[in-house]
């Protein structure tokens, strides 16, 4: 059941009603039943796996608190986290392993294995929970209903955000009927997320698919445009599903963490990764980068560079066992190491040159955006050779014979002109609303506007979504 289906709308309305009627601890049980009902619509066998892994983690954490010696605790937590990692690797890499096994020796069976829906998200939540308990950052969760709800919480299971256990359990402890302002905010976030997905992302996808299918057939200008389109597509798609997830959560009294903070306005690559897929980068910073960086602290700059590089490669391969994702991560690792090692010197340099510093304020975001456009070409490409073809053909002079560097084939846009124009305008509107909703003055102005102004705005957005709906594609991040 997709978030963008009528069945889900009915499920959500019914679920919210039952939740409103429930009292006290029953609310948690209602949420758990709703979450498993939602997950069962995808795949019942995968729901059994989710429940089994959750139970294993629950008993592991309960057993951990009974062990007092540091060595004993370490010896207990390491196999548990390694086990969860193995489950992730097994399901994500089954197809890859199948290539190395003859069909009759299990290769066929391996090839048929499909990674469970939301596996990367719920396993990261559970690993984080175990490590937080081990580091004594949070107490052990004794209530099995709360524990089972944490990884299965239906708004977040398809595409995140990866909420931390401490934050989730704290909110769950005092869960009550959601406040009316949270319901309004939640419904607005859902509408805004649908707008991002249906109006912006889906209209950019046709152009992106075309140029990635045959990069050698396009001019550098067309490829560059395709690169820009994909950056906006993936941002709108992923931040759209995050908005929907946060919005649904608010209807049930749980506020999920933000995943994006206007990343294309980042002044450097470090800042970009603090604004893009925030819940994943924070997770990897806390559970991979920090322990690694601390363990390598005696190696100075080399230790820092290694910790950054490994973390960014992990960001890449978290998406799946594909070379394009690994190289996407490695390229970002390279960007980050260079940026981190030169940032202080660059800051000192510009501090003494105010005129250049003013220029840097504009050039920084522009350069960062273009570095990410190149990296995202790798992320989107069908294969590494295809990405290489795309990146080399984007350079003027390296395009295929007979294609001029500045060619912009109107036929490419022929049927999509209006769609692209609509997507472009919508993107600008989307970021303006995004910005305004973060400025208290503007948010308050909208809230205090007469009812007919607010309702007109909502109906206009619903109308735009309805008019622009085409064959809706699944959310890009639902596959991870």
């Amino acid at each position: 059941m997709s978030f963008l289906s009528l069945e889900f709308a009915a499920f959500l309305a019914l679920g919210a009603l039952v939740f409103q009627l429930a009292r006290g601890p029953w609310r948690r049980l209602v949420l758990l039943l709703l979450s498993y009902a939602f997950y069962l619509t995808w795949n019942p066998r995968q729901a059994v796996l989710l429940l089994g892994i959750t139970a294993a983690v629950y008993y592991t954490a309960r057993s951990l608190e009974k062990i007092s010696s540091a060595r004993g605790r370490l010896g207990f937590i390491l196999p548990a986290v390694a086990g969860l990692l193995l489950v992730l690797v097994f399901f994500k890499c089954a197809g890859l392993f199948a290539r190395y096994f003859p069909a009759r020796r299990g290769g066929d069976a391996l090839a048929d294995i499909v990674a469970p829906i939301g596996l990367s998200y719920y396993l990261f939540k559970l690993m984080g929970y175990l490590l937080d308990v081990y580091w004594e950052k949070i107490p052990v969760q004794r209530n099995f209903v709360s524990m089972a709800l944490y990884p299965a919480f239906f708004p977040q299971i398809l595409s995140g955000p990866i909420q931390r256990a401490g934050d989730f359990f704290t909110q769950l402890e005092k869960i009550g009927n959601p406040r009316s302002e949270d319901i309004v905010t939640g419904l607005r976030r859902i509408l805004f997320g649908m707008f991002k997905k249906v109006v912006v992302a889906d209209h950019l996808s046709a152009m992106v698919d075309a140029v990635h299918a045959n990069p050698a057939g396009y001019s550098p200008l067309e490829l560059l445009f395709g690169g820009y389109c994909f950056a906006f597509q993936i941002y709108s798609d992923f931040s759209g599903v995050t908005d929907i997830a946060i919005g649904i959560g608010l209807l049930f009294g749980i506020k999920g963490p933000e995943n994006f903070n206007m990343p294309f306005f980042a002044r450097n690559i470090q800042e970009f990764w603090r604004r893009w897929h925030i819940s994943l980068t924070c997770w990897l910073t806390d559970y991979l980068f920090m322990p690694l960086r601390f363990s390598l602290r005696r190696f100075g700059t080399a230790g820092l560079s290694a910790a950054i590089f490994v973390t960014m490669v992990a960001v890449g391969i978290w998406h799946g066992p594909r070379m394009t994702y690994a190289v996407f991560g490695a390229l970002n690792g390279f960007y980050m190491v260079v940026s981190a090692l030169t940032l202080k010197k660059r800051n000192d340099y510009f501090q003494k040159r105010p005129l250049l510093a003013r220029l840097r304020a504009y050039a920084g975001p522009l350069l960062t955006f273009h570095l990410m456009v190149v990296a995202l070409i790798l992320f989107r490409a069908n294969s590494l050779p295809s990405a290489w073809l795309y990146i080399t053909h984007i350079i003027p002079g390296f395009q295929s014979a007979g294609i001029s560097a500045l060619r912009f084939d109107r036929a490419l846009l022929h049927t999509r002109q209006i769609a692209l124009l609509l997507a472009g305008i919508s993107y600008a509107a989307m970021e303006s609303v995004n910005w305004a909703s973060r400025q208290n003055v503007w948010a308050a102005r909208f809230d205090s506007a007469p009812w007919f102004v607010r309702w007109t705005a909502y109906y206009v957005v619903i109308l735009i979504i309805a008019c622009s709906a085409q064959e809706t594609r699944t959310f890009i991040y639902a596959q991870f």
Binding site: A70, W135, M290, L304
Partner: protein, 80 residues
Amino acid sequence: MTDAEIQQKLTAIFRSVLDKDSIELTATTTAKDIEGWDSLTHVDLIVAVEKGFKVSFTTKEVMALQSVGDLMRLIASRCK
């Protein structure tokens, strides 16, 4: 070493590593309160604290830190 002495020395270390003379630490200060105290500079701070107080921390101890107060208590337990 008294708590006040630890706090004073810790403030000097933070000011030196983060290059900001305006830093004032309290037990409730967290990374969110100080500009420049991020995941990249966090370990630089811990290394400077280890050198400054002539102590050594384990990964688990460092990962459990959530505020300056936690760090002060950890240092105090080592400087007894």
